[in-house]
Amino acid sequence: MSSDNKDVLLRMKDIRIDGFADEKWNEIIKGVDLTLHKGEVLGLIGESGAGKSTLGLAAMGFARPGCRLTSGEIWFDGVDLMKESERAKQKLRGARIAYVAQSAAAAFNPAHTLMEQTIEAGVRHGLASPEEAREDAKKLFAAMDLPNPNNIGDRYPHQVSGGQLQRAMTAMAMASRPDLIIFDEPTTALDVTTQVNVLAAMRNAVEQFHTAAIYITHDLAVVAQMADRIKVLRYGVEVEEADTQTMLTSPKEEYTKSLWSVRSIEKEAESADDKILEIKSITAAYGKVPVLKNVDIAVSRGKTVSIVGESGSGKSTTARVITGLLPQLEGEVLFNGQPLPAKLKDRSRDQLQRIQMIYQMADTAMNPRQTVREIIGRPVEFYTGKRGKAADQRVKELLEMIELDESFMDRLPGELSGGQKQRICIARALAAEPELIICDEVTSALDQIVQEGILKLLMHLQEELGVSYIFITHDIATVRAISDEVVVMYQGEVVEQGSKQDIFEPPYPAYTELLLASVPEMEIGWLEKTIETLGEKRAALG
């Protein structure tokens, strides 16, 4: 090893990785260096497609199918992973290098208990006997702050919550006391209120066992809590690297600054007396499970109402009731003062046209086999009766509204970026010339810069067209940015409802306080400060 520094655990030099797409190999990591010391946590951030995950996997000497390591050096504690045999590398993985994936639910085998899976790697690598491993796993479950650490291992993955599963996954990675853990967006799929606890548990574990880690995320506030140093990637190239404090206070590169200043949208909250939509004491259930209890929400014409809450709070169900996908059991939905039929099939085409919906995952919201022209053109034809040239003309106008042009007409969804896809979905909703658009977590799958662009577009369209929005989200920053009014939901009930100023100023109801306190801030030490007070707030909720 060339380094004289004994503390270096991982050194990657001039790493180049190719990805296979469009019948040829394209370089996706273009010569990145990375050095990690023992016990150090490195944050790896960047937008999707920047090569974060690919680089993270390369730290294990691994290239996922469709990728190949073309050149560079990977030294892990004196071992050259580029030259080592696959067998030797497998011995390292799971024993000395561990990996925590984004979706714990997909990474666990549903047919085995948590305990069996936690100890599997250690026992197979011959590091411990099953009995020892089991005892040790219980300690780790306790360290990860899991409830009933002695018994929770006997449960199956579906019997614990998402946050618990993610913690169990970290415990599994810790089981062999690895020198390096690679966390790949481990909390992205979790609610803010759950995320805080998982972050704290992971941070404790890493410190307690003096493990080095690479923490991959696109959330800056999260990385500020976890990492000692931050490296910013873009288009497979390093933008800059510095310790967390420097990076937060004085980033050098323009690109990094733009990432930091993204949450700059602000809007004065306004209210209007003219209500476009009123939901009155709605009760709804899936089968016999009640999900909405006595929900009242009103939306002013031309304004934005945000519905916030964690998953399972009934946000999306409310949207399903409004659109008629889930007929309510009690209560009524008034649109422009007129009651809407509860069932979708009882609604007239005119009623359907006025309420449109935009989904979280633009990928699944667009038919992958239809071109942009068909996707946007269909509602134009369906609702306005325009055909042929007239319809094409309208599609062009719509594309211009969403800041794209007619060169996109013949593209398939697979050929668009995430932000472009979401814009096409917005255009599809606009094509119906609606009065109300329901946006269900429309920005949560997108990178920060792209998010900002989409939010600005939505606000601009509102000014121009006077359309009203219901904005369903769990992201408080988005709510602050764009809403006029806010509705906080918890366990199927409306906790609080009012103008943005009222909601975000104390005094808060207990749940709102917990929710607001859980949103990570870009400040070192926020996690330690918060985690102490959060317990009390949770207790106050009962």
Binding site: Y235, E254, L325, L344, T364, R369, I402, E403, E415
Partner: protein, 305 residues
């Protein structure tokens, strides 16, 4: 990366892909196809060619009777003649036309019935789905060859009832597969979006679901074709399939089966009844080669090194 250019949605990097026409893409795929797939495609093309141009290729007519029955292989009759003096080589050629034609028609009909009902079941769910699925279960519970034999003896063995009966019996498998793959697509948000728009069931079936489930259906079409083809041959061998004088490989095996005992005197005579059997086997294998390749392409299963 030091300049901060204004953000523009147009410049966002998507998966930039070279635009290719359908033909270019097909050619790229074909060039990468394995040897077996090529072999299969060549064999199938030859069969199709023979079936289309049968009257031009065959030296004798389909039911033309020559004076000598059981004639040996010679220059006038390449593969000899059968029990009433019809030229076997010509009948093999016409057999391609009949057997493949009927099998194709049957498979298409099976897909129309099974696929159509499956899509209706997948989209409507609830009661419609329950009734259709259970009815299909009942049909599947009866061994299909015996069921077909029974129905054919009730309705008489003409080509039309043969096609309809086998199509209905085979549509059960098509129903199962189509319903399963369509179930994965109906839960997609674009299908929900189409329903919210107020689209009818016909549009949702044709435009939203069908294009997304085509690959497994095409593969299934190939396999189903093989099974239908074999079922027809088996029924013909049993005497309830395609009726004389129409040439058909299954009945040709039966008609000339007795020749096999002459193999000890004349090897060629012994081979004669095996020729139509071989024609069946080769086509079945060829179709399977192509389907295998297609399945591997569409299922995303690849051999990793």
């Amino acid at each position: 990366m030091s300049t901060s250019e204004g953000y523009s949605a147009k410049d966002e990097v998507g998966l930039v892909r070279t635009r290719r026409t359908w033909r270019q893409r097909a050619w790229i795929e074909l060039k990468k196809a394995p040897f077996t797939a090529w072999l299969g495609m060549v064999v199938i093309s030859i069969y199709i060619f023979i079936a289309l141009f049968a009257p031009l290729i065959a030296p004798y007519g389909e039911a033309e009777i020559t004076p000598i029955p059981y004639a040996p292989w010679d220059s006038t009759h390449i593969f000899g003649t059968d029990q009433i003096g019809r030229d076997i080589f010509s009948r093999l050629i016409f057999g391609a036309r009949n057997t493949i034609g009927i099998a194709l028609a049957t498979t298409f009909l099976a897909f129309l019935i099974g696929g159509g009902l499956a899509l209706v079941a997948a989209i409507s769910r609830g009661w419609t789905d329950q009734i259709l699925s259970r009815a299909i279960d009942v049909l599947m519970a009866i061994p299909s060859l015996i069921f077909a034999l029974m129905l054919l003896s009730i309705f008489g063995s003409n080509v039309l009832s043969l096609i309809i009966i086998i199509a209905v019996l085979d549509s059960t498998r098509v129903f199962r597969l189509t319903r399963a793959v369509a179930m994965n697509v109906v839960v997609m948000e674009y299908v929900e979006a189409a329903k919210l728009r107020g689209e009818g069931i016909g549009w949702v079936m044709r435009r939203e679901i069908l294009p997304n489930i085509m690959p497994p259906l095409v593969a299934e079409f190939g396999l189903r074709f093989c099974f239908v083809f074999l079922t027809i041959a088996a029924l013909s061998f049993l005497g309830v399939g395609i009726q004389p004088p129409t040439a058909d490989w299954g009945s040709m095996v039966r008609e000339n089966a007795s020749l096999i005992q002459f193999a000890q005197f004349d090897l060629k005579a012994g081979i004669t009844p095996l020729l139509p059997a071989a024609a069946i086997a080769i086509l079945t294998i060829a179709v399977n080669f192509v389907v295998d390749w297609f399945l591997m392409k569409t299922s995303g299963l690849r051999d990793e090194q």
